[in-house]
Amino acid sequence: MNIFIRLLKSIDRKFIFIITFFAVVIPMFYPLYLPIIPEDSVRSIFKKIDAIPEGSKILMSFDYDPASKPECHPMAIANLRHAFKKNLKIVIIQLWPFGGAMATEAIDELKKEFKEIYNRDIIYGDDYCILGYKVGGAILIQQSGKDFNGTFMEDIDGKKASEISLTKDVKTIKDFELVLSYSAGDPGIKQWVMIVDAQYKVPVAGGVTAVTAPEITPYLNSGQLLGLMAGLRGAADYETLVNKKYPPFKKYVNSGTSGMDPQNIVHLMIIIFIIIANIIYWHDKKMGLVR
């Protein structure tokens, strides 16, 4: 036993990094296709978007940057797929400076998909528009409840919001059926919930990085948040629901779904590491090596 414990204690942390790397890479080459059962908090977003009448406007706020792209981007793409398929009109804003670039990248990807599957063009100004970045966070959200075009004045190309067909009739945030925020921190979904849901009674939902999820979950439990996608798992859940209803999307990149196998394997590995570390701790405690 002592030899075994000494051997475990001598393991270098680089060994753990290497094992983690292979635990991620191997399932990517040999997927296990573990089942994904969508959570209720994700189903409620899907049901809401599904129930919104065709041609209605929804607001998407891209509040993340490249550092959190692997988590937030797949859920934004999954929501956009669903919304475009439902012919909803999407107004995109950004509370983070990189949000516009993230939205542009996501929509460029979807334009190809919709052209290939449905021979449909996703048209800027008609199907969607991307308004420019503004500083202010919560103040902007508050102001958009009173004068939307006066708050988000121009799109990313400098065109006035009042001249874009999609936004020219928008007066306040209440003109949107739903607000979706993809948030990696502050400002983000918390501010949307605290202001738009509480004061203007517009339903708010969205996705957050897994790190932020425990902080945001209380707003879900209290009913202030319509639904929540937490991390890559949330994206995988939404992709599963979209692919079930619209199977042609299955053949395209579903980053959340394909990321679940490596995620599960690494989590299992980390659980094993924690158990091993505790065995060593208990052993040392028994031997009087630690207090």
Binding site: K14, M28, P97, Q142, Q199, A210, A213, N221
Partner: protein
């Protein structure tokens, strides 16, 4: 395998590997990649702020349809004179760069702090206190259609966890009474509730970090090396 020929993809891949080299030990490649990341981010954010905030919100409305010097007369004629207030506060903020008059930057800072605090007190009380308190006021015995079935049992159990978990966690932070007797038991239970929530946060953090690794590995595999 279809290796990408795009220079942007190669730069991304090489910088990713440079950052990963830190796992071995701190080195020159890591420091270079880190510096490039910070520099690019700062430059991009400055450019966005300048064009989409300063120009779009302040400068263009001030100078629209006029020459540079019209910035004084034009807003007055168009009723945009109030824009001089943020313009002036912005100028005061820049005084921070000059040690002699740097104290003037406290005025716009005071404005920001006052505005932020005033707004946040109201919305935080409403959403994070009142609504959360309301969400913890739950029935301790729940029935489903008048029957206490398995679903009702699970809901009842969840309600007990939420109600007593909240009370115990609050009791731990209640320092006006010595933690003895029942208060001590409640406070100890509160510690366990907090430890469980820290465990949940740790699990979520692991999930987030692994997601980032998966994202980078997928980029290297699918975009850079072209292995689909």
């Amino acid at each position: 395998m279809n290796i990408s020929s795009e220079i942007g993809v190669w730069i991304g891949a090489v910088l990713t590997l440079c950052i990963w080299s830190f796992l071995w030990k701190d080195n020159f490649l890591y420091k270079t990649a880190e510096a490039i990341f910070i520099g690019c981010s700062a430059g991009y954010i400055f450019s966005k702020l300048f064009h989409e905030s300063f120009m779009a919100v302040l400068w263009n409305p001030l100078t629209e349809g006029t020459t540079f010097w019209g910035v004084i007369t034009n807003p007055l004629s168009k009723g945009n004179a109030f824009l001089f207030i943020p313009f002036f506060l912005g100028l005061l903020m820049i005084t921070r760069l000059f040690p002699g008059i740097g104290w003037m930057s406290r005025w716009p800072m005071a404005f920001i702090v006052g505005l932020g605090a005033g707004m946040n007190i109201f919305i935080s009380l409403q959403s994070s206190v009142v609504a959360q308190l309301h969400a913890t006021m739950l029935p301790l015995v729940k029935f489903h259609g008048g029957v206490f079935d398995m679903t009702a049992f699970v809901d009842t159990f969840n309600n007990w966890v939420i109600v007593f978990g909240t009370l115990c966690a609050l009791m731990y932070f209640f320092f006006s009474i010595e933690h003895k007797g029942l208060v001590s038991v409640g406070a100890r239970m509160g510690i366990y509730v907090l430890m469980i929530s820290f465990g949940a946060s740790f699990g979520a953090t692991v999930m987030a970090r692994i997601s980032l690794l998966i994202g980078r590995v997928r980029f290297l595999k699918e975009v850079w090396l072209g292995i689909v």
